[in-house]
Symmetry: C2
Subunit: 318 residues, 2 copies
């Protein structure tokens, strides 16, 4: 029996069609890309030692062996600093100097360095007076949109608030008007009480499989406190790194070396009533492609059972 | 220099970034699937002679050799007739009995049979009192969402108006309020005058590369007259078939055996002021995948130059 669900943070319409997973296509495991084995590739502009092939460096974290994580200008920026229409800066953050250093095998310390770099670049870019929003995301593997093999993230400042953020902020604001309570607080309370869609719950972050998502298999990490992204303390970053390490270990167990996107949704710079919106992260596996139904209607078909998936991914922090 | 464009029929935000086509990834031609050579595959439920492997037939067009085009129930429907939440019927239209009969090689007559079938099934499904919209689309090849190799289309009736249609109808309505002229009429006039984005212009249909589209390389076929989809005359269907035959011949010359989606946007059943909206078709090549930027922001990056692409695809009807 088909069910219509609404993703409460953005009003996306999702048809939950459990029968669809029996389709012939889905029996064939989508072919995964081969895992990179080498820690260094002499042709890779993002490997340590090949810095001369990359663009200007904006930030780095080092240890005695050299740089660990760094941020450089994107050679092919989506936005530019000279455009009147869409001002922005576009940097590439090299997750780790290791060519084979993926979210599936990164250490807690590597995640910490990466999140510290996210925070530093975010703080730096949001300050510009023309900037309304700073967008952090990651494409892992070709199928998710990545053009270079060496694992990397991207950060883009924008002179406008992107439509998807606008929508989420408006939905949260409308929720407050109607309920006199905060949307994210209510989601957090409800999910903790219901338990079955919770992957991990700790002091700072709730990690869940959302009740409804247009992206089959999405995992959502929600900040429990209403802080701005750039206010993350070292302790926050430490806990977030533990969450990511465990989460991606479990994702690897289930899906293998699967392409994914990470999209971080933060407050737009001039958002009034910023207490209505909580920072959160969408982790989107890219197993399936949208077809003409989704493209043509803006409705999405999901064959994920959130409770089942959460059960497979659940973990405790040590 | 980056440019921000708005797709005027749906308000999608598109960043036109011409430099992006120089990215390393784009130098590597995405690998195309192998073309099907055989006209008959004994394992295929959609081939003529294998009807017992398919579901109930709802309509067919025959000649002396047997059925040419037919519509059958979808074995794995997105919607169902029993759901209270999302009522609908989901049929699969087998474009042609030929296993290797793709849009890239179909004859004018095959296209005519297919469009006649679209019209028949549309007429039939829209009549149900619970139905608010009937959606016709096509996924060609795995990358576009197709699960079976034999070329086929899909038609789905829905008890709700899909968000994307709602949005397009609202944009058209708002345009009329602001301008006292019709959006689609104005687009048609402007594009014919400008010429450079026109692929083909004839009595009934204007085929263009849109000024802005979130789908890099999209081709749009717009009905010039304000008729409902089910009002297409035989002559309309004949001309549309000529357009599709030529268009896909040219697409094949440029892109080869490329995955694509066809999405037909028709009037919702109870649309007031239906004269504000024209039926149109989105033909969407699936060369590229959206990345985390598009998923996270709802903004799209395009590296297509519409004038260049239209120039390559332009044709006259004979």
């Amino acid at each position: 029996m088909q069910e219509l669900r609404i993703d409460e943070i953005n009003n996306d319409l999702v048809i939950v069609a459990n029968n669809r997973s029996k389709r012939p296509m889905d029996k064939i495991k989508s072919q995964l890309e081969e895992e990179i084995q080498v820690e260094y590739d002499s042709y890779c502009p993002f490997c340590r030692g090949n810095e001369s092939h990359a663009t200007i460096e904006r930030y780095k974290i080092e240890d005695s062996s050299g740089w660990i994580t760094r941020s450089v200008d994107n050679k092919f920026p989506i936005v530019d600093e000279l455009s009147d229409e869409i001002y922005g800066v576009h940097e590439v953050i090299i997750d780790t100097y290791r060519h084979n250093g993926t979210f599936y095998n990164m250490s807690e310390l590597e995640f910490q360095n990466l999140f510290k770099t996210y925070k530093n670049r975010y703080q730096n870019l949001i300050e510009n007076k023309n900037v309304q929003y700073v967008n952090i995301f990651k494409n892992f593997l070709r199928k998710s949109g990545a053009s270079l093999a060496h694992p990397h993230s991207q950060i883009i400042s924008l002179s406008i608030v992107p439509p998807e953020i606008n929508k989420e902020e408006e939905v949260a604001s409308q929720y407050f008007i109607e309920n006199k309570t905060y949307l994210y607080d209510d989601i957090i309370k409800r999910e903790i009480k219901y338990k079955k869609r919770v992957i991990n719950d700790n002091k700072y972050f709730l990690t869940i499989v959302p009740y409804a998502s247009k992206y089959s298999g999405e995992v959502r990490v929600i900040f429990k406190e209403n802080i701005k992204f750039e206010q993350m303390s070292d302790n926050y970053i430490k806990i977030l790194s533990k969450v990511f390490k465990k989460l991606f270990e479990n994702l690897y167990k289930i899906n293998g070396y699967n392409p994914f996107n990470l999209c971080i949704h933060t407050h737009s710079k001039e958002l009034e009533n910023s207490e209505e919106f909580n920072v959160h992260m969408h982790i989107i596996p890219r197993k399936y492609s949208f077809g003409g139904f989704e493209l043509g209607t803006g409705m999405y078909v999901s064959s994920t059972n959130p409770e089942e998936l959460a059960n497979k991914l659940r973990f405790e922090l040590n």
